[in-house]
């Protein structure tokens, strides 16, 4: 049987691929990635420590960590993290839901596309920060205007992702579904949804990334708490270590939320996972 032969070959190549990766597996890539920043930090720390540089505008790592420790010991840090996180989550949820619904509507019904897509593309061309004055006039300077701005940022990548994914669905798989007389709803549930899921997850992650971007802009609009506030405060009071500390927290939170999102969606994409491995 030809199947057995090709199977055996595939199995063998898979084993050798495993062997190849195992040599580099484990901590090495992670450690390698850390070498440069750690070395730069150590050099800068040493220069400031021995008085060769004053480190007032570019704080050494120790100063940054001291600031982080202080902020966290007073509990202040968590108030800011909480405020920012809630804004991102609320804006992301609103933007993702809207983007998904509009994208699905336009992707599924051609007529809606001709009607709505040109306007949406026009709105997309507006730099989102340009909305800020209008949103403040409409929604005031408190939470609603901030969350709306974040939602606008999240909306477009999700909308475009859903639309593109629906357009890229393999027409033949839909025909197989039709041959077995799936209802329109059945086609959506059993064929369209699983087909678009991988691209949808990518779009959600892009949306989340933009959500983190826009929360900073939103908090620059004037906020009494939040990581963006820490940035502005650090600038106004000349505390660069506080600015860098807030940037670090942004980076860590962005990574963690992205990781949680991909972890939550991973069970639906197991088949794609194996695709990546087969490559």
């Amino acid at each position: 049987m030809p199947a057995d032969g090709s199977l055996a070959i595939e199995a063998r190549s898979e084993i050798s691929a495993l062997r190849r990766t195992s040599r580099f597996a484990g901590a090495y890539p992670f450690v390698a990635g850390l070498l440069l920043p750690v070395a730069l930090g150590a050099v800068w720390e040493a220069l400031v420590y021995f008085g060769l540089a004053n480190g007032r505008l570019v704080p050494p790592p120790s100063a940054i960590f001291r600031t982080l420790a202080e902020l966290s010991s007073t509990g202040e840090l968590y108030v800011h993290i909480r405020a920012t996180l809630l804004r991102v989550l609320a804006g992301f949820a609103a933007g993702a839901v809207a983007g998904t619904l509009v994208g699905a509507l336009i992707g599924y019904f051609r007529r809606f596309r001709q009607l709505l897509d040109p306007s949406l593309q026009g709105l997309r061309a507006v730099p989102s920060i340009a909305w800020v004055p209008l949103f403040i006039l409409w929604f005031g300077i408190f939470e609603l205007s901030k969350i709306t701005l974040i939602a606008v940022g999240v909306f477009f990548p999700v909308y475009l992702g859903v639309l593109g994914a629906i357009e890229a669905v393999d027409r033949k798989t839909v025909e197989v579904g039709r041959a077995f007389r799936l209802s329109p709803l059945g086609l959506v549930r059993r064929i369209l949804l699983p087909s678009i899921l991988p691209a949808y997850v990518v779009a959600l992650r892009q949306g989340l990334g933009l959500g983190w971007m826009f929360v900073v802009a939103a908090e620059f609009m004037g906020a009494s708490e939040g990581l963006g506030y820490l940035l502005v405060d650090g600038q106004q009071l000349g505390k660069p270590q506080q600015i860098v500390a807030a940037i670090l927290v942004f980076a860590v939170l962005g990574q963690i939320t992205d990781w949680i999102l991909s972890l939550l969606t991973a069970p639906f994409l197991r088949w794609q996972d194996s695709f990546a491995r087969a490559r």
């Binding site: 030809p2 033949k172 798989t173 041959a179 077995f180 007389r181 064929i191 699983p194 087909s195 088949w271």
Partner: protein, 271 residues
């Protein structure tokens, strides 16, 4: 094997052309909004259990005809009959195999094959699927993802999926067109073995003359612009067939005859 019902596998010298018609086209015309129709007044009758190849240059409407057989497209004029009943819309009675396998990538191989039986509410869908996978020689990869299989294996899963509900008709749209020559010739022999066991009515679209001659009991050569039947040729080679028949003078003679027809047609379409 439980799935093989009622088929007479007596290795008869010719396909059973006198059997009652399973698929019939009556004066079918299809326009794609161009000056000349894509398919122009085509009438065909395909008997139950027959293996027919639709052969022609690209653009001759052979894939369009297959879509008509499948019920994905209804003719602008004329009628399509399945078992002498008007055939309207897609139906589970026609299994379809595409050039690009069109498997569901999010389902394991066995779930892909069991999709049809589950949809139709047949009993023991998984058992049926396993039997079909066994038939195409893939029982070892039942739980693999389609993306991890080779092109030939994916196409065999496609065939198993199309046959899992035991449809009386199997429609194949250049199913081996994307495979390398060696895999393709193995697949051709395997397809004949499967056909011999289950005896579905097969309509096989291809532009490969040798493939059509090797597989089919009847080759329908299409001409293009407008799409019409240029010639129908009965292929007399006894079954079961092996690739060795390709060296026989009769095979070569048929090949030359068809190639002459197709060359004229291809030139017409080329302009």
């Amino acid at each position: 094997m439980r799935l093989v019902a009622g088929a007479s596998a007596d290795g008869s010298a010719t396909d059973n052309i006198l059997a009652k018609p399973r698929l019939r086209l009556e004066h079918v015309t299809i326009n794609y909004g161009r000056s000349r129709p894509a398919v122009d007044d085509v009438s065909l009758s395909i008997g139950a259990g027959e293996f027919v190849a639709l052969l022609g240059p690209s653009g001759c409407g052979k894939s369009t005809l297959l879509n008509v057989f499948a019920g994905f497209r209804s003719p602008d004029r004329g009628r399509v009959l399945l078992d002498e009943q008007p055939h309207l819309g897609p139906s589970a009675r026609c299994g379809i195999v595409f050039q690009k396998h069109a498997l569901f990538p999010w389902m394991s191989v066995i779930e892909n094959v069991a999709f049809g039986p589950r949809r139709l509410g047949l009993d023991r869908p998984l058992e049926r699927a396993h039997a079909l996978l066994d038939l195409v020689g893939l029982k070892d990869v039942a739980h693999a993802w389609p993306s991890s299989l080779s092109g030939g294996m994916q196409q065999r899963v496609g065939i198993a999926r199309a046959l899992a509900t035991r449809p009386p008709v199997l429609l194949m749209d250049e199913p081996f067109g994307a495979l390398d020559a060696q895999t393709r010739s193995l697949m051709q022999e395997e397809l004949l073995a499967i056909w011999d066991k289950l005896k579905p009515t097969v309509v096989f679209v291809t532009h490969d003359i040798e493939e059509a001659l090797f597989l089919a009991g009847r080759v329908i050569v299409m001409e293009s612009l407008p799409g019409r039947v240029a010639r129908e040729i009965s292929i007399p080679f006894p079954r079961p067939r092996a690739h060795a028949i390709m060296d026989q003078p009769a095979f070569i003679e048929h090949r030359r005859e068809i190639a002459d027809v197709i060359r004229i047609e291809a030139r017409k379409a080329f302009r």
